[in-house]
Amino acid sequence: MKFKAFLTDNGISLLEKRLLPALDKLDRTCVLYLTPQHTLFLHNLLSSSTVIQSVAQVANPALFLEHRISSQCDDRIALTLDTSLLLRALRSVVTISSSCPVQIKLVKKLPPSTTQPMPFLSFETKGRNSAVIHDVPISKPFSRSQVLELQAAIDSSQTLPKTLVQIPYLNQLMSFMERMRHVGDSLNVGVSKYGDLHLEISTPMITLGTEFQRLLVLGERAEPPAASDPGASPGKRMEVAIQGGDGLMVQVTVKNFTKSLSCHLAKPDCAFYGIEEQSGCLVVVFQFFIPGTRITDKAISLHCRIPVIDTGCN
């Protein structure tokens, strides 16, 4: 099993300034999954369904100048690591101004006062006067069966909801959640084919919510019923949509929803929300544009699946 690569400047900046700070907020431990085409960071894909799952994928050319990978599992390597340590190692290597690219490789080393060699992901950079080697401790690489299981989990996580609505202003959503989260612990999230996103926290004393209307819809869409009352309350409108089969509502924890918003640290350009009926989870797909354009950057993808605490009213 071998892995060795040289990080590009863009790759370092993407990891250090955007992806890793966001992933670190989601959960400290993540699975790093290296394949010949992509590098993936996965959260909780194989664990219980009560925690938020996330899949971040970057095409290798966006990260590496050149890279070599080989393993007995179709040249795929998966391992667990601590995102904060990985972030710290990257921050440490970028402080050395160097014309030499940063090398990253899998190594086995004998830590002091042990007899058993341990696996590490080693970052190496050479400056004019110094060289820095930063070893990030990692888990034993996954077995073949574990890798297959992981791949199956990734494949099934790619199922998209039938309807996704686009939130172009994540900041607004974040500031709203920031002020709303102390009201209650659970959040009702409704998505309709008319392009509505509805968030509501309800307790016996207060109902507090926000509604976004006329959002861009991906997938199945529908026109709001002509007879609909424009003055109806947001709750009533969503109820009508659900009854007509044009909307879905689920309940998620405020904690998980807020956590998913920390993905804004990865600087996505917009986010799509949808409800996956079969697996019963709220899916958030973050979209990245090629800088300076409105064209999707296919080299990066990030999505979260927020588990549902109740199947909701539908």
């Binding site: 202003y169 607004q172 500031s175 709203f176 002020r179 709303m180 102390h182 009201v183 016996p204 004393m205 207060i206 109902t207 507090l208 919510g209 926000t210 509604e211 976004f212 209307q213 006329r214 959002l215 309350s233 947001p234």
Partner: protein, 278 residues
């Protein structure tokens, strides 16, 4: 509104009663029949005020929830317009942001029926001439904050010659006395009316509540808080809170007319200790 309402929020769980009339909204908070606070939000403070009720509606709600909820509506750096409506289909207080057609925030706060017998202070003047003084808000707050350590009971004395107000605390750790002297050149006491010496003791806990949560703009404007002693030693503390820098201000000035007074009034009524014992 958040500023004005926060000024009468002296503990976490606090029930308030709201009374709506053609003149505006009054919010009333009480504590163990010793302290009452009222916030007057006159109809002129609102961009639009519609009142269509025969009897003045009264309802109770949680002050904390109401303030937190209003806070949710105000995004930093942008002025937001909120529609507040009562009653909702289930007698709730309904709030809705009306800035944008495509995104809105809304809230429904459950209300309760307020107690029919409300403790009322019947604040009446002590005699034929009023007994009152107006002191810079910041100085009043500072004096009351300083009186924290001596003890639980504070004696407030007004004497006509030489004209002065004394706040005195006696406690296990020692005594502390704060004097506000009234003379021409001082701008600390803005006004002073008293023709005979009056002295009453008030619980520090309640006295502290009258200035503890004053919004920063009251301290900054430092207009003056008016304190009146009524019959039986009941003390009334009045503060003025500027309610400006809103969307309405811009609208008003661009429309070219003089905007009406944008002041919210806050009043505290405080019973003296002797009356509490009775």
């Amino acid at each position: 509104m958040v500023d004005a309402l926060s000024a009468v929020r002296w503990k976490r769980q606090q029930d308030a009663v709201i009374e709506v009339s053609e003149h505006g909204i009054v919010l009333i908070v009480e504590e163990s029949a010793c302290l009452q606070a009222k916030v007057y939000l006159q109809r002129e403070l609102f961009v639009q005020y519609e009142y269509r009720a025969r009897d003045r509606p009264r309802f109770g709600l949680s002050l904390g929830l109401f303030v937190d909820c209003l806070n949710t509506f105000s995004a930093p750096g942008s002025s937001s317009c909120i529609e507040i409506r009562y009653p909702g289909p289930d007698m709730q207080l309904l709030l809705r942001s009306v800035d944008s057609l495509d995104a809105c925030i809304y809230a429904e706060i459950r209300t309760r029926i307020p107690d029919t017998i409300t403790w009322d202070f019947n604040f009446e003047p002590a005699g034929s001439t009023p007994i009152n003084f107006t002191v810079k808000s910041a100085a009043l707050k500072e004096a009351i904050d300083d009186l924290e350590w001596p003890g639980s009971s504070i004696e407030i004395t007004l004497q006509p010659t030489p004209p002065a107000v004394t706040l005195k605390g006696e406690g296990g750790h020692g005594d502390l006395q704060v004097d506000f002297l009234y003379y021409g050149t001082s701008d600390l006491l803005v006004a002073f009316h008293c023709d005979e010496e009056v002295s009453n003791r008030y619980k520090y806990k309640f006295l502290h509540a009258t200035t503890a949560n004053l919004p920063s703009n009251v301290i900054k404007d430092n207009r003056g808080s008016k304190i009146t002693i009524g019959r039986g030693g009941i003390m009334k503390v009045q503060h003025l809170v500027s309610v400006t820098r809103s969307l309405t201000t811009n609208l008003a000035s661009s429309a070219g007319y003089q905007q009406p007074s944008r002041i919210a009034f806050i009043e505290f009524f405080l019973k003296p200790e002797e009356n509490i014992d009775e």
